[in-house]
Amino acid sequence: MRISPWNGLAVRVGSMIAISAFLFLAVFSYFFYQRTFQNEIRATTHSLSQLIITVESSAAIASYLNNVEIATEVVQGLERNDMVSGVSIRGSSGLYLATGDMTPRHDAELHQYPVGSPVGDGESVGQITINPNQQFIEQRARKTATIQVQSMAMQTLIIVILVMILVYWQLTRPIRFVAQQLHDLQPGSGQRLCSPAGHRRNEIGGLVVDTNQLLETVQNAIKKEQDLRAQVESLERRFRLIFEHASGGIALTSLHGKLLLHNPAFEKMVGSNFMKELMESGTKILPDIFEKKQKVRKILLQIPTDLSPIAMDLKLLGYEKEPRWLHCLFSSVENEDGDLLIETICYDISERTLREKQIQLQADRDPLTGLLNRRGGTHYLNLLLERCRAENRHLALLMIDLDRFKPINDTFGHESGDKVLCEVAGRMLNTVRQDDLVIRLGGDEFLIALVEGHGGLQVAPVAGKILRLLREGIDIGEGQMVNVGASIGIALYPEYGEEMRTLMDLADNAMYKVKNGGRNGYCFAREEPCFIDRHTSD
């Protein structure tokens, strides 16, 4: 800090002393002046009496002897004095002599002195009267008093200046010396203050010593603090590295799912849209981003009481085309304030889930026709049967075996056979409704499951339609057309049986009946006769 010399201690102390000194002087000099003036007046009166004493013997002789010459000498001698305006002498035997102005000023009075006899008998022989020169006396008194007051003021001024110089020399200068050092000093550095010369043993020296001790303490504290901070920073960097570069998403939420903290991996997994909603306070909580939000909410509230982490695979809301799956591990943590929080660690398992689905799909389907294979078909058939049983609906199983397929395979090759199978599969799929199943059991053997819809179960017309469609020629390439047919055995649920195995066997038997009966027809397992289409049968 820059200190203006006008704000310095020396000037401040000096001016305070000066102000009080001159206030004191103003009051005191008035009384001092008055006193000096009065003293001077008294001294003058005294001088006058002494003046009279010097001429007393002459005056006594003059009065005693009635001697005008001596009397004249006396009065003229007295009148010559500056303090005297006029003098008169009166003798008891008639002498009277006066010189000068004997009229006293209005506020003054004549001074009278008795004159004793020169023969020493104590008898008064006359009287000297003096009219003092009041104007001169007062003027002289004023002059003396003024000079006294002036000299007093001068002394005061000299003392004030001396005090200012001493304060500057003994206080301001050494303090400024120390202050400048302190100003230039870098906190935490090894620099120390040194005492101004000649002040080592007084208060300023003590201040310097104490300040240096303080600086030492501060330096140590700063050093310690810096070391600690460096450690903390390095630790924090490492933690941050772990947190931000973790492949797993990490999020910290309240028990109610409010997002408090998350890492970049978490944001990437959840997606920026969700992130935005989660970040905007009050809009969304963590469970809301999952399909099973109610379940997740419950889990979050349950964790603090269970105290064990809970792991589960959860599907994110809103990714219908490319479903996103997260493997989440929820656990409770306690922060420094003792509040319970939920830590969620998640891994993106969408690809794995997709792959698993695809594998399952491949296992359930016939790669050539895309229809369900025996394995998948059996699985879905059972599910379908369960559903029909639960909903009290009817179901028809159509066991289909292609006629005259083996010769095509033998004559035109497997590729042509495959084409025939694909075409047949397509035609069958076009015939049935959404809920119905078309399964390739193997080779040229198929199974269709028809579910009862709103208009009841129209099995025979559908079977007839399938026969008609399969009878139509199939292009196997290069203008070559082939013809196949079908033998269909039909089993009805629940009329013919309750179990899938039973129904399958019944349908199978019925199908063989048709084959044996001349092919290209359909047959209900427990009914006679079979329907054989004779139009194309050859």
């Binding site: 002897l65 001697n67 010459e69 001596i70 023969v119 020493g120 008998d121």
Partner: protein, 124 residues
């Protein structure tokens, strides 16, 4: 005791003044009056300056030393208005002058007194 001796003031036998009090003697010897109370001119006479009698006389009369009296008269001499008493050589000379002048007045030791002069007072 010399100092105890009486100092007598004497005048001519023919002088009409029969007695003088101390103040009247002083006024004559200090030069205030040049005449006796009855109007006759008076001529005061002094003893020699270094005489014992003179010292005693002035001491008793105005409580002044001879030197002080000399100074007194020296001051008055300048004015020209008064003259100091005439100084005689001794008491005999004083008596003789008193005998020979009607207006003369002098002082002597009482032991020197004789019938030729008249005592009018004493300085004690």
């Amino acid at each position: 005791m010399c100092f105890a001796a009486d100092v007598l003031v004497i005048v001519n036998q023919a002088n009409e003044v029969s007695s003088l009090d101390k103040k009247q003697i002083i006024d004559l010897y200090m030069g205030r009056y040049q005449n006796f109370p009855n109007g006759e001119a008076a001529f005061p006479l002094d003893q020699p300056p270094v005489s014992e009698i003179r010292t005693i006389f002035y001491q008793n009369l105005v409580n002044k030393s001879v030197a002080q009296m000399n100074a007194y008269w020296a001051k008055l001499l300048f004015t020209g208005r008064a003259s100091p008493p005439r100084v005689m050589t001794d008491s005999l000379a004083v008596k003789r002058a008193v005998r020979e002048n009607k207006g003369a007045i002098g002082y002597i030791d009482s032991v020197d007194l004789d019938k030729t002069v008249k005592v009018v007072g004493r300085a004690d």
